[in-house]
Assembly symmetry: C2
Amino acid sequence: MLSKATISLITSLEKKKLRDELGLFVAEGEKLVADLSRTLKVKSIYATIQSGIESAELISAAEMKKISFLKNPSSVLGVFHTPNHEELNLSPSSLVLALDDVQDPGNLGAIIRLCDWFGITILLCSTHTADCYSPKVVQATMGAIARVRVYYVDLQAQLNVAQKAGIPVFGAFLEGKNIYQESLPTGGIVVMGNEGNGISKEIASLITQKLYIPSFAESAQKSESLNVAIASAVICSEFKRRAL
Amino acid sequence: MLSKATISLITSLEKKKLRDELGLFVAEGEKLVADLSRTLKVKSIYATIQSGIESAELISAAEMKKISFLKNPSSVLGVFHTPNHEELNLSPSSLVLALDDVQDPGNLGAIIRLCDWFGITILLCSTHTADCYSPKVVQATMGAIARVRVYYVDLQAQLNVAQKAGIPVFGAFLEGKNIYQESLPTGGIVVMGNEGNGISKEIASLITQKLYIPSFAESAQKSESLNVAIASAVICSEFKRRAL
């Protein structure tokens, strides 16, 4: 049976402040929890059914409902230790994505998942970007949170350092150059902006090459922009296929 | 002041059955409503502030709360007539996207938005795909719902007809051929599958060319798939840039 203290500990992990203080986060779903437990340090796992996960503690469906963040709780919930990534070390030869205040958890989750797909192992986030260990983000990553190293950094300072080290810094701008026609290196940092405001002025001044995904719409009225996760995917696809 | 009947009419539009019966749907947000009202037939518009939209009826914030589907209601809500699209007419020269039971409203909204961006004006949806006029989908399209014609069809029958008319039918499969290395025509139908199950067997048998977005991940453990909206974007990008 779950103690009151345990229930309150787990539900408190909905808040970033508590996640940060305790160095813990929650993931739900049999597949996701099994996936993460292969890579990350497990604090505790709870299951309402006999799952394939050995260390899981059996609890009732009513108890699961108390600790779950999902509308429809799944059968397994895991509490994991937030990973301590090795010190950030940027190299000019690998592609890195950087987010300037991306706010939507679904977008951040989708971006972490696509980073994993496109072999991008480092994701830089400005300090005001959504927290990658929030329950919604973790779920949306579909396990990629265990493989992509997410660093929350002073993005302006980091891009300054990168620029001085000769690492090209790209950014997605509506007034940028047609990405399909630009020559692209195999490495560099690609900055994606906030959903409503795009890339901030301070960060924009550090971009060495502005890129744009052209619209193919023929009508006068058309969408003004692409969703940030969708645009990230198109840009990563362009960089990676060129290096094939 | 809003009558009880009006409030109950609008809130009933959360249900697909009622939307279908009444031929109406709801959109919220000053920009979105203004955008849609330029193209679609307006039934009524409500605003808590003096908006730029002439025909809007002024209501109180408390009233807006009663009719809004948003956690944080915006200042403008519009009720629109569902558009009657011209009869579906597929041509081998234009690119069309088809969804085989895509379930998540956020994914469907993102796909409609990216169709608009990539100049894809026809989106075919299997009858079990999420409804494009549900409030969540409409919001996620950011206005593209007014420009992309969404047809709910017997997808199997439609693909059969297309195949006989010599229109190539592509599909995204994990066992497909590397899209970056395949030659692609300017037109055809690209089928994207359900979030959990991919493309159904019945539909798969009608695909003439199976495509795959290769993973660039180097580690043994990696994501098993891309989100369906993300994969749609990468595929549309590949088709469209080749035709540049």
